[in-house]
Symmetry: none
Subunit: 111 residues, 2 copies
DNA sequence: TTATTGCGCAAGTAAATGCTTGCGTACATA
DNA sequence: TATGTACGCAAGCATTTACTTGCGCAATAA
């Protein structure tokens, strides 16, 4: 289980997406996280490790516990990749991001 | 190679992301697509099949050729998932592109 | 008609993925 | 100090993945 590891790979797994969703709301330690899934603690621990390696969560060690905190900016790369195509299926952007608005207006001549 | 197949899974593979990028610009038949990659035509053909099954491209049969056309709205699901977290990191940076430039320069070890 | 091209369908393979169980270790609490 | 708790490491295993080569067939060019 050691190979190409990027954000796209990380969020490809539904369990990992769930983990992200959970720690986005509140910091959770590995066991607390594991309790919410049907799979073993080890399995969850591995997902956590992968998410950490991909920069999507960070670990805060506190005593013997390891709290997982979301680092959602790690999603930016994937977000940008998708955003570049968004204009093709949406007429209107409700995003406030200046960069995206800029790109949108630049490519309005397309299509 | 038959199992869980969703959009996240589909875009997890870099070759498939490249294929999407290519057919987003122009319709290409399988062979034309295959020529642009190092892998065999069969491999590309399989990626195309997967992308089609995930609703990210559609095939237009024309004689013996099969033209791949992007169906970028298929990305909406993934887009929405990421979008829900966007607010959590957008205010952390002046702009998205600044951050992307940062991670791109960090990713020199790629491939 | 015959040769060539475009492409899908296997079948086979190596590597990656997801998960499990067993074990060791650091931290806590009785 | 003895015991329980949080969690990583590692080995083992069934699948899935990404590819490859070989074959066959329909559409097209010679």
């Amino acid at each position: 289980m050691e190979a190409r590891r990027d954000v796209f790979q990380a969020i490809a797994d539904p369990t990992r997406r769930e983990i992200i969703g959970m720690v986005a709301h509140e910091s959770l330690n590995v066991n607390a996280l594991a309790e919410k899934f049907d799979v073993s603690r080890q399995a969850v621990s591995l997902h956590v490790k992968i998410l950490q390696e991909c920069g999507l969560i960070s670990i805060r060690q506190q005593g013997r516990e390891r709290y997982c905190e979301a680092k959602l900016e790690g999603l930016a790369e994937a977000s940008q990749w998708i955003e570049q195509y968004k204009q093709f299926w949406m007429d209107k952007f409700d995003s406030l991001d200046k960069y995206l608005i800029k790109i949108q207006s630049e490519k309005k001549t397309d299509k």
